[in-house]
Symmetry: C2
Subunit: 522 residues, 2 copies
Amino acid sequence: MSLTGNFSFHKTKQSWFTRMEKFVGKISTFFASIWKSWYQVGREDPRRAVHAVKVGVALTLVSFLYIFDPLFHRFGNNAMWAVMTVVVVLEFTAGATLCKGLNRGLGTLCAGSLAFLIEIVAETSGKTFRAIFVGSSVFIIGFFATYLRFFPKIKRNFDYGVVVFLLTFNLISVSSFREDDVVPLASERLFTIGIGCGICLCMTLIFPKWSGEDLHDYTVRKLEGLAKSIEACVSLYFHDQEKDGTTVDMESTKEMISEGYQLILDSKSIDETLALFASWEPRHLRHCYRYPWQQYVKLGTTLRHFGYSAVSLYGCLESEIQTPPSLRRLFRDPCTRVANEVSKILLDLSSCIRAHRRCSHDVFSDQLHHALHDLNSAISSLPCPFLNSKNVQSTAKHATNSNSMVTLPSAKSDVDALVEKKNNKNDSRVRDQPVLRPTLSKIDMLSLEFSEALPFAAFAALLVELTARLELVIEEVEELGRKFGFKEFDENLVSIEVRQNETKENVKITDLHSHGVLPSAE
Amino acid sequence: MSLTGNFSFHKTKQSWFTRMEKFVGKISTFFASIWKSWYQVGREDPRRAVHAVKVGVALTLVSFLYIFDPLFHRFGNNAMWAVMTVVVVLEFTAGATLCKGLNRGLGTLCAGSLAFLIEIVAETSGKTFRAIFVGSSVFIIGFFATYLRFFPKIKRNFDYGVVVFLLTFNLISVSSFREDDVVPLASERLFTIGIGCGICLCMTLIFPKWSGEDLHDYTVRKLEGLAKSIEACVSLYFHDQEKDGTTVDMESTKEMISEGYQLILDSKSIDETLALFASWEPRHLRHCYRYPWQQYVKLGTTLRHFGYSAVSLYGCLESEIQTPPSLRRLFRDPCTRVANEVSKILLDLSSCIRAHRRCSHDVFSDQLHHALHDLNSAISSLPCPFLNSKNVQSTAKHATNSNSMVTLPSAKSDVDALVEKKNNKNDSRVRDQPVLRPTLSKIDMLSLEFSEALPFAAFAALLVELTARLELVIEEVEELGRKFGFKEFDENLVSIEVRQNETKENVKITDLHSHGVLPSAE
């Protein structure tokens, strides 16, 4: 018995140890995963940690209003308004903090004045009248202030201000019902809110983070991402495993391309928010009253429209209907050259913006024109690739020497066979020139004859369209340079910048996606 | 003297009247313009006025906590937390209000509990230690809470909750430094916040506005807008003033097309915000735990990708390089038919979603296949339109009867002349089959030969691509019907719906743009 008991005791102890070990293991895995995700968030943008420290310091500073006796005796419980202001106003970027701080100040001031006016009317009357008066003024002001928030302009710039106005007005007017003199209350409140805003302002100006700079960097990255994506997209379209002898990781390349495009396509709200906050930032006042940040938004819109064509180009990769490799191969070199030139120009533009420098006047380079010409020639040199896809293989073999349309036998789909059977009567005519075919009911679109060759026509046309739209982008970039007074183009500077940019290449494009700067953008 | 004095007096009086009149006129114009803009905001969405009234009523109700003696004696100055809650929590849609209300409640509860724990540790110690302890805990909690806000998941769902947590924690822990017993303070605060949340909940459930319904309507409108835009776009592309004998207001049609596309392209943030709020709405709990609102977001993404191709189609209208009308005319009927079929299918899908009904299995209609076939045939019937744009005019004249490539003399640009001059040596070869041309330096892209005919190829290919992508849209719509348990397809129901939908046609597509629902969407 005692042996069994001992054994079972040992067993229990052992299983207890095993369970304990498992438990500790789980706990440590849990904490490791938490640590990893925390580290990840900080690694994506180290300024997040700095901002968190700033908030901590600001809160500690403002809590001194309670902790230190002389300060507490001066402000009393009104110190809570300073705490509240710091929590709500201190934002990630200087522009956002200033926007919120000024909104808060303005809202409080307006609300205080209005409440004071109403107080003057109400104080002479009896208690019942006063109750009715306060109640109805709360309703009316509540209605109008809420309605005002639906105005687009107010919503964009002063939404927070209206909320603060409504809040302060209500608090002051209803407390005035219970307090005899509301003026000291309102002025104390305004004063403590001022202290809170002051602390926020100080903290935001230590290691500041400017929305304007973010907008600038974001635009540069968008251009770079677009350039890389277009280049990768075209080279993937013409990738030929047999000929190149290399394998490309299709999935990861496609992911890279999508990332570049996504950065452009989703940029609207980020652009607008950054430009809005940037317009509140005063640091550039020495140049002019306000920097025309909206030009960045305009450039962003042009880039988005450029991006729609680029995405359609990418769509040719993903298309259900594919042009056979034999046809593609013929246009590989000219198309790749055009894409490379477009990409080079985009990179040029991005480095111009990065260096706050105007572009060279011949940014729309000779090389691009040469490449376009070569593409033109390549297309012209084929007898009829967009019509009869069956020609292509023979054409590819005969290169540019064939003088007439040659129709080689090729694998035929059922539909083709059916069509041919029906058209057997006028067979000679079919060979010379395709005729209108009888309509077939419900067949797979893929079997339509034009489908194979037409997509390449679209690819080429979109590529040409891209170069046309590129001019619009260049115009907007030049307008940007003009409006912001970028320095004039200087050839000597460019070579220095190129080297600098190469060292910056390791910055991730996706960084801004997960910035956490913008309440509305994330 | 007196006469002059009298005269000048009259003159002064008259000018005073004139000025007064002008002033009154200005004032009345000013108020008229204000009234107009107020009316406009309400007319766009009458629910805005309803919401403003609801806020006014909620604020009046909450001010009773101050105004009625028994209530004030019960809650005292803690009533301000109820006022604050109403101002901040009551939002335009039920989902947003619930999201904010629950966040506020949760944040306050967590903060209260944590502050209580810290209070237990701090209360046994001396004043200096307590000051240091409170100060450092404020810093640490401030740091971690702010850092937590950068996590994408927290940011999306609980951002407001974390802010409220930080606010409440700071207020309670610093006031605990001055108050002996912090528990009643915290519980009173929680209670008044509960009252505020309760009032918000009641108000939001009177004439409620569900984000889920908005998302649903928005998706329907997007599909309708897309359908109209595609149809209008293609008919504008083939519009021929001579042949039709009608003039089309190009600008207004283009504006209509752009509006339809813009609704799709800018839909990301609106979709996501509405789906987020909809996921907080409990009204559909009888069906399942949570409606899979994300399916609407997925459908939105597919529609956006469909939209990129559609925008490229529109780009063909705006393109710098245009296919001559003579060539376009040949493809007018088949292209218009394809576009009309695509548009019809999109409208079918939208009416299915509107009626919460599954689609018919043959939504991808026979007619579309017929139209595609006709387009195919039309393209095949031309000898070589995409290569040599000069053929086109003759081809158009000869219709489908010409058997060989005919090169007619046409207006030649300087560049063409230059090229021909250079190629004079092998002139015979040029006529039979185009050869690779010598590269010319820096010429205008418009003068490239392929430019004229290629855009139509792109147009046709994009149209075919659209039909291919349409299948993806149909799949997502079917998935939506399956996930939400839409009722099965019933032919008898459809005819009733068609009549109902016709009465709803007067709903403006642009309405949702200016809703003012979404802080992040506007």
